[in-house]
Symmetry: C2
Protein backbone atom coordinates (compact mmCIF):
# COMPACT_ATOMS: atom_id res chain seq x y z
CA UNK A 1 0.00 0.00 0.00
CA UNK A 2 1.16 3.51 -0.71
CA UNK A 3 1.40 6.05 2.10
CA UNK A 4 -1.05 8.79 1.19
CA UNK A 5 -0.19 12.43 1.81
CA UNK A 6 -2.85 14.23 3.85
CA UNK A 7 -4.52 17.25 2.26
CA UNK A 8 -3.39 20.64 3.53
CA UNK A 9 -6.04 22.50 5.51
CA UNK A 10 -5.89 26.10 4.27
CA UNK A 11 -8.70 27.37 6.41
CA UNK A 12 -11.54 26.45 8.74
CA UNK A 13 -14.79 28.19 9.36
CA UNK A 14 -17.00 27.19 12.26
CA UNK A 15 -20.69 27.87 12.37
CA UNK A 16 -23.28 26.94 14.93
CA UNK A 17 -26.60 25.91 13.54
CA UNK A 18 -29.47 23.94 14.91
CA UNK A 19 -27.59 22.87 18.00
CA UNK A 20 -24.77 21.51 15.84
CA UNK A 21 -21.28 22.76 15.45
CA UNK A 22 -20.35 22.57 11.79
CA UNK A 23 -17.07 23.35 10.24
CA UNK A 24 -16.21 24.11 6.65
CA UNK A 25 -12.62 23.18 5.86
CA UNK A 26 -10.76 24.42 2.81
CA UNK A 27 -8.58 21.53 1.59
CA UNK A 28 -5.82 21.12 -0.95
CA UNK A 29 -5.21 17.53 -1.96
CA UNK A 30 -1.71 16.33 -2.83
CA UNK A 31 -2.62 16.42 -6.55
CA UNK A 32 -3.36 20.14 -6.25
CA UNK A 33 -7.15 19.70 -6.27
CA UNK A 34 -8.84 22.27 -4.03
CA UNK A 35 -12.15 21.45 -2.29
CA UNK A 36 -14.33 22.67 0.55
CA UNK A 37 -15.64 19.93 2.84
CA UNK A 38 -18.22 20.31 5.55
CA UNK A 39 -18.09 18.30 8.71
CA UNK A 40 -20.17 18.07 11.87
CA UNK A 41 -18.41 18.24 15.22
CA UNK A 42 -19.55 16.06 18.09
CA UNK A 43 -20.52 17.59 21.40
CA UNK A 44 -20.12 16.43 24.94
CA UNK A 45 -17.33 14.49 26.60
CA UNK A 46 -17.29 11.40 24.40
CA UNK A 47 -19.09 8.09 24.34
CA UNK A 48 -18.39 4.50 25.28
CA UNK A 49 -19.64 1.08 24.12
CA UNK A 50 -19.13 -1.99 26.28
CA UNK A 51 -18.43 -5.59 25.26
CA UNK A 52 -19.06 -7.46 28.54
CA UNK A 53 -18.06 -11.11 28.83
CA UNK A 54 -20.05 -12.87 31.60
CA UNK A 55 -18.33 -16.19 30.87
CA UNK A 56 -15.87 -17.32 28.20
CA UNK A 57 -17.45 -17.35 24.76
CA UNK A 58 -20.47 -15.20 25.70
CA UNK A 59 -21.21 -11.48 25.30
CA UNK A 60 -23.98 -9.42 26.89
CA UNK A 61 -26.44 -7.78 24.53
CA UNK A 62 -29.25 -5.48 25.55
CA UNK A 63 -32.57 -4.86 23.91
CA UNK A 64 -33.56 -1.21 23.99
CA UNK A 65 -36.11 1.02 22.29
CA UNK A 66 -34.46 2.96 19.46
CA UNK A 67 -36.42 6.11 18.66
CA UNK A 68 -34.65 6.78 15.34
CA UNK A 69 -36.11 3.63 13.80
CA UNK A 70 -39.05 3.15 16.23
CA UNK A 71 -38.28 -0.45 17.13
CA UNK A 72 -36.52 -2.44 19.81
CA UNK A 73 -32.90 -3.04 18.87
CA UNK A 74 -30.40 -5.67 20.02
CA UNK A 75 -26.95 -4.25 20.58
CA UNK A 76 -24.11 -3.55 22.94
CA UNK A 77 -24.63 -1.30 25.99
CA UNK A 78 -23.44 2.24 25.41
CA UNK A 79 -23.66 5.76 26.70
CA UNK A 80 -22.05 9.16 27.04
CA UNK A 81 -19.26 10.17 29.37
CA UNK A 82 -20.10 12.54 32.20
CA UNK A 83 -17.90 15.59 32.71
CA UNK A 84 -14.59 14.58 34.30
CA UNK A 85 -15.25 10.87 33.91
CA UNK A 86 -12.65 8.54 32.37
CA UNK A 87 -13.54 6.14 29.55
CA UNK A 88 -13.19 3.11 31.82
CA UNK A 89 -15.24 4.67 34.65
CA UNK A 90 -17.99 5.57 32.19
CA UNK A 91 -17.91 2.04 30.76
CA UNK A 92 -18.37 0.48 34.20
CA UNK A 93 -21.14 2.91 35.15
CA UNK A 94 -23.08 2.33 31.94
CA UNK A 95 -22.62 -1.42 32.31
CA UNK A 96 -24.06 -1.29 35.84
CA UNK A 97 -26.97 0.89 34.71
CA UNK A 98 -27.88 -1.10 31.62
CA UNK A 99 -27.07 -4.71 32.55
CA UNK A 100 -26.86 -4.89 36.37
CA UNK A 101 -23.21 -5.99 36.26
CA UNK A 102 -19.96 -4.28 37.15
CA UNK A 103 -16.55 -5.40 35.88
CA UNK A 104 -13.28 -5.87 37.77
CA UNK A 105 -11.30 -5.88 34.53
CA UNK A 106 -11.82 -3.17 31.89
CA UNK A 107 -9.70 -2.83 28.74
CA UNK A 108 -9.96 -0.03 26.20
CA UNK A 109 -9.79 -1.68 22.78
CA UNK A 110 -10.19 1.09 20.21
CA UNK A 111 -12.14 4.04 18.93
CA UNK A 112 -14.94 3.40 16.44
CA UNK A 113 -16.12 6.24 14.22
CA UNK A 114 -19.69 6.96 13.16
CA UNK A 115 -19.33 8.50 9.69
CA UNK A 116 -15.71 9.64 9.44
CA UNK A 117 -16.21 11.23 6.04
CA UNK A 118 -18.28 14.05 7.51
CA UNK A 119 -18.56 13.61 11.28
CA UNK A 120 -15.95 13.79 14.04
CA UNK A 121 -17.99 11.45 16.29
CA UNK A 122 -16.16 8.55 17.95
CA UNK A 123 -17.18 5.93 20.49
CA UNK A 124 -14.66 4.06 22.65
CA UNK A 125 -15.00 0.26 22.67
CA UNK A 126 -14.24 -1.25 26.10
CA UNK A 127 -13.89 -4.95 26.90
CA UNK A 128 -15.37 -5.75 30.33
CA UNK A 129 -14.42 -8.97 32.10
CA UNK A 130 -14.58 -10.52 35.56
CA UNK A 131 -18.16 -9.37 36.11
CA UNK A 132 -20.08 -9.16 39.40
CA UNK A 133 -23.71 -8.21 40.06
CA UNK A 134 -24.23 -4.52 40.75
CA UNK A 135 -27.04 -2.33 39.52
CA UNK A 136 -27.01 1.44 39.28
CA UNK A 137 -30.11 3.47 38.49
CA UNK A 138 -29.88 4.98 35.01
CA UNK A 139 -32.13 7.34 33.11
CA UNK A 140 -33.80 4.63 31.03
CA UNK A 141 -37.61 4.82 30.89
CA UNK A 142 -37.89 1.06 31.46
CA UNK A 143 -35.68 -1.83 32.52
CA UNK A 144 -33.64 -3.18 29.62
CA UNK A 145 -33.69 -6.83 28.68
CA UNK A 146 -30.20 -8.33 28.96
CA UNK A 147 -29.44 -11.19 26.57
CA UNK A 148 -26.26 -13.28 26.85
CA UNK A 149 -25.24 -14.26 23.31
CA UNK A 150 -22.71 -16.90 22.27
CA UNK A 151 -19.80 -15.42 20.34
CA UNK A 152 -19.85 -18.45 18.04
CA UNK A 153 -23.47 -17.61 17.15
CA UNK A 154 -22.88 -14.08 15.84
CA UNK A 155 -23.81 -15.35 12.37
CA UNK A 156 -27.41 -15.57 13.64
CA UNK A 157 -27.41 -11.80 14.12
CA UNK A 158 -25.94 -10.57 10.85
CA UNK A 159 -29.20 -10.54 8.91
CA UNK A 160 -31.58 -9.78 11.81
CA UNK A 161 -33.51 -6.59 11.12
CA UNK A 162 -33.56 -5.70 14.84
CA UNK A 163 -29.77 -5.88 15.17
CA UNK A 164 -28.88 -3.16 12.72
CA UNK A 165 -26.42 -0.70 14.24
CA UNK A 166 -23.06 -0.71 12.47
CA UNK A 167 -21.07 0.19 15.59
CA UNK A 168 -22.69 -2.55 17.68
CA UNK A 169 -22.21 -5.24 15.04
CA UNK A 170 -18.61 -4.12 14.51
CA UNK A 171 -17.97 -4.16 18.27
CA UNK A 172 -19.16 -7.76 18.65
CA UNK A 173 -16.96 -9.04 15.81
CA UNK A 174 -13.95 -7.00 16.92
CA UNK A 175 -14.17 -8.49 20.40
CA UNK A 176 -14.56 -12.00 19.06
CA UNK A 177 -11.39 -11.55 17.00
CA UNK A 178 -9.47 -9.97 19.90
CA UNK A 179 -10.42 -12.80 22.27
CA UNK A 180 -9.59 -15.44 19.63
CA UNK A 181 -6.09 -13.97 19.25
CA UNK A 182 -5.29 -14.27 22.97
Amino acid sequence: MITPILPIIHGRQEHESGGYRRETIDLEFSNGERRKYERISSRGHGAVMIAAIPEPGTILLIREYAAGVHRYELGLPKGRLDAGETVLDAANRELKEETGFGARKLTHLRSITLAPGYMTHEIQLVLAEDLYPERLAGDEPEELEVIPWKLDALHELVLREDCSEGRSLAGMFIVREVLAQR
Copy 2:
Protein backbone atom coordinates in the same frame (compact mmCIF):
# COMPACT_ATOMS: atom_id res chain seq x y z
CA MET B 1 -36.59 -13.52 24.71
CA ILE B 2 -39.73 -11.58 25.49
CA THR B 3 -41.55 -9.70 22.74
CA PRO B 4 -41.42 -6.05 23.74
CA ILE B 5 -44.41 -3.79 23.20
CA LEU B 6 -43.53 -0.65 21.24
CA PRO B 7 -44.15 2.69 22.93
CA ILE B 8 -47.20 4.60 21.74
CA ILE B 9 -46.35 7.80 19.82
CA HIS B 10 -48.76 10.43 21.16
CA GLY B 11 -47.39 13.27 19.08
CA ARG B 12 -44.65 14.41 16.75
CA GLN B 13 -43.27 17.85 16.20
CA GLU B 14 -40.96 18.55 13.29
CA HIS B 15 -38.53 21.43 13.24
CA GLU B 16 -35.98 22.43 10.67
CA SER B 17 -32.76 23.72 12.07
CA GLY B 18 -29.29 24.06 10.69
CA GLY B 19 -30.07 22.11 7.57
CA TYR B 20 -31.36 19.21 9.66
CA ARG B 21 -34.85 17.96 10.05
CA ARG B 22 -35.42 17.14 13.68
CA GLU B 23 -38.43 15.58 15.23
CA THR B 24 -39.55 15.54 18.84
CA ILE B 25 -41.72 12.52 19.57
CA ASP B 26 -43.90 12.20 22.63
CA LEU B 27 -43.73 8.56 23.76
CA GLU B 28 -45.60 6.42 26.26
CA PHE B 29 -43.76 3.24 27.16
CA SER B 30 -45.69 0.06 27.97
CA ASN B 31 -45.03 0.61 31.69
CA GLY B 32 -46.82 3.97 31.52
CA GLU B 33 -43.62 6.04 31.54
CA ARG B 34 -43.97 9.15 29.38
CA ARG B 35 -40.92 10.69 27.67
CA LYS B 36 -40.05 13.07 24.88
CA TYR B 37 -37.31 11.85 22.54
CA GLU B 38 -35.60 13.87 19.86
CA ARG B 39 -34.42 12.31 16.64
CA ILE B 40 -32.69 13.54 13.51
CA SER B 41 -34.18 12.64 10.14
CA SER B 42 -31.92 11.78 7.24
CA ARG B 43 -32.17 13.65 3.96
CA GLY B 44 -31.79 12.59 0.40
CA HIS B 45 -32.72 9.37 -1.34
CA GLY B 46 -30.77 6.89 0.79
CA ALA B 47 -27.28 5.48 0.78
CA VAL B 48 -25.54 2.30 -0.26
CA MET B 49 -22.40 0.42 0.83
CA ILE B 50 -20.85 -2.21 -1.42
CA ALA B 51 -19.08 -5.45 -0.50
CA ALA B 52 -17.45 -6.41 -3.79
CA ILE B 53 -15.89 -9.86 -4.21
CA PRO B 54 -13.27 -9.87 -7.01
CA GLU B 55 -12.47 -13.55 -6.38
CA PRO B 56 -13.62 -16.06 -3.77
CA GLY B 57 -12.36 -15.15 -0.29
CA THR B 58 -11.40 -11.56 -1.16
CA ILE B 59 -13.21 -8.24 -0.66
CA LEU B 60 -12.40 -4.83 -2.18
CA LEU B 61 -11.51 -2.06 0.25
CA ILE B 62 -10.84 1.52 -0.69
CA ARG B 63 -8.63 4.06 0.98
CA GLU B 64 -10.20 7.52 1.01
CA TYR B 65 -9.63 10.81 2.78
CA ALA B 66 -12.12 11.19 5.67
CA ALA B 67 -12.60 14.85 6.57
CA GLY B 68 -14.35 14.16 9.89
CA VAL B 69 -11.21 12.61 11.36
CA HIS B 70 -8.66 14.18 8.93
CA ARG B 71 -6.97 10.94 7.93
CA TYR B 72 -7.10 8.34 5.17
CA GLU B 73 -9.50 5.55 6.07
CA LEU B 74 -9.75 1.97 4.84
CA GLY B 75 -13.32 0.87 4.29
CA LEU B 76 -16.00 -0.31 1.92
CA PRO B 77 -17.05 1.81 -1.06
CA LYS B 78 -20.23 3.76 -0.41
CA GLY B 79 -22.29 6.66 -1.59
CA ARG B 80 -25.70 8.27 -1.87
CA LEU B 81 -28.52 7.34 -4.18
CA ASP B 82 -29.39 9.77 -6.93
CA ALA B 83 -33.05 10.73 -7.39
CA GLY B 84 -34.97 7.89 -9.03
CA GLU B 85 -32.09 5.43 -8.74
CA THR B 86 -32.60 1.95 -7.28
CA VAL B 87 -30.36 0.59 -4.52
CA LEU B 88 -28.74 -1.92 -6.88
CA ASP B 89 -28.16 0.65 -9.64
CA ALA B 90 -26.58 3.05 -7.14
CA ALA B 91 -24.38 0.23 -5.80
CA ASN B 92 -23.09 -0.59 -9.28
CA ARG B 93 -22.51 3.08 -10.14
CA GLU B 94 -20.61 3.78 -6.92
CA LEU B 95 -18.58 0.61 -7.40
CA LYS B 96 -17.59 1.72 -10.91
CA GLU B 97 -16.71 5.22 -9.70
CA GLU B 98 -14.72 4.17 -6.64
CA THR B 99 -13.06 0.90 -7.67
CA GLY B 100 -13.13 0.73 -11.49
CA PHE B 101 -15.25 -2.45 -11.47
CA GLY B 102 -18.85 -3.17 -12.31
CA ALA B 103 -20.75 -6.24 -11.12
CA ARG B 104 -22.98 -8.62 -13.04
CA LYS B 105 -24.49 -9.97 -9.81
CA LEU B 106 -25.78 -7.63 -7.11
CA THR B 107 -27.61 -8.80 -3.98
CA HIS B 108 -29.17 -6.54 -1.37
CA LEU B 109 -28.23 -8.01 2.01
CA ARG B 110 -29.65 -5.68 4.65
CA SER B 111 -30.01 -2.19 6.02
CA ILE B 112 -27.41 -0.97 8.53
CA THR B 113 -28.30 1.92 10.82
CA LEU B 114 -26.00 4.71 11.94
CA ALA B 115 -27.22 5.59 15.44
CA PRO B 116 -30.74 4.16 15.68
CA GLY B 117 -31.33 5.63 19.14
CA TYR B 118 -31.54 9.14 17.74
CA MET B 119 -31.09 9.08 13.96
CA THR B 120 -33.23 7.62 11.19
CA HIS B 121 -30.19 7.17 8.90
CA GLU B 122 -29.76 3.82 7.15
CA ILE B 123 -27.34 2.50 4.56
CA GLN B 124 -28.09 -0.48 2.31
CA LEU B 125 -25.44 -3.20 2.20
CA VAL B 126 -25.09 -4.76 -1.26
CA LEU B 127 -23.01 -7.81 -2.16
CA ALA B 128 -21.39 -7.39 -5.59
CA GLU B 129 -20.08 -10.45 -7.46
CA ASP B 130 -19.01 -11.45 -10.95
CA LEU B 131 -16.99 -8.27 -11.45
CA TYR B 132 -15.67 -6.79 -14.70
CA PRO B 133 -13.49 -3.73 -15.30
CA GLU B 134 -15.44 -0.53 -15.90
CA ARG B 135 -14.65 2.90 -14.59
CA LEU B 136 -17.08 5.79 -14.26
CA ALA B 137 -15.99 9.32 -13.39
CA GLY B 138 -17.08 10.23 -9.86
CA ASP B 139 -16.85 13.44 -7.88
CA GLU B 140 -13.81 12.34 -5.86
CA PRO B 141 -10.98 14.92 -5.69
CA GLU B 142 -8.38 12.22 -6.36
CA GLU B 143 -8.27 8.61 -7.51
CA LEU B 144 -8.93 6.19 -4.67
CA GLU B 145 -6.56 3.39 -3.81
CA VAL B 146 -8.31 0.02 -4.15
CA ILE B 147 -7.04 -2.73 -1.86
CA PRO B 148 -8.17 -6.36 -2.21
CA TRP B 149 -8.29 -7.86 1.30
CA LYS B 150 -8.55 -11.52 2.24
CA LEU B 151 -11.72 -12.28 4.18
CA ASP B 152 -9.74 -14.66 6.40
CA ALA B 153 -7.48 -11.71 7.35
CA LEU B 154 -10.18 -9.40 8.76
CA HIS B 155 -8.60 -9.88 12.19
CA GLU B 156 -5.71 -7.73 10.95
CA LEU B 157 -8.12 -4.81 10.56
CA VAL B 158 -9.99 -4.89 13.85
CA LEU B 159 -7.47 -2.82 15.81
CA ARG B 160 -6.17 -0.65 12.97
CA GLU B 161 -6.70 3.02 13.74
CA ASP B 162 -7.25 3.83 10.05
CA CYS B 163 -10.05 1.28 9.68
CA SER B 164 -12.47 2.75 12.19
CA GLU B 165 -15.93 3.12 10.72
CA GLY B 166 -18.51 0.93 12.46
CA ARG B 167 -20.64 0.43 9.34
CA SER B 168 -17.67 -0.60 7.19
CA LEU B 169 -16.29 -3.04 9.76
CA ALA B 170 -19.77 -4.47 10.29
CA GLY B 171 -20.29 -4.82 6.53
CA MET B 172 -17.08 -6.83 6.06
CA PHE B 173 -17.93 -9.28 8.84
CA ILE B 174 -21.57 -9.60 7.77
CA VAL B 175 -20.49 -10.51 4.25
CA ARG B 176 -17.93 -13.01 5.51
CA GLU B 177 -20.65 -14.75 7.54
CA VAL B 178 -23.17 -14.67 4.68
CA LEU B 179 -20.64 -16.19 2.25
CA ALA B 180 -19.59 -18.82 4.81
CA GLN B 181 -23.22 -19.90 5.18
CA ARG B 182 -23.67 -20.56 1.46
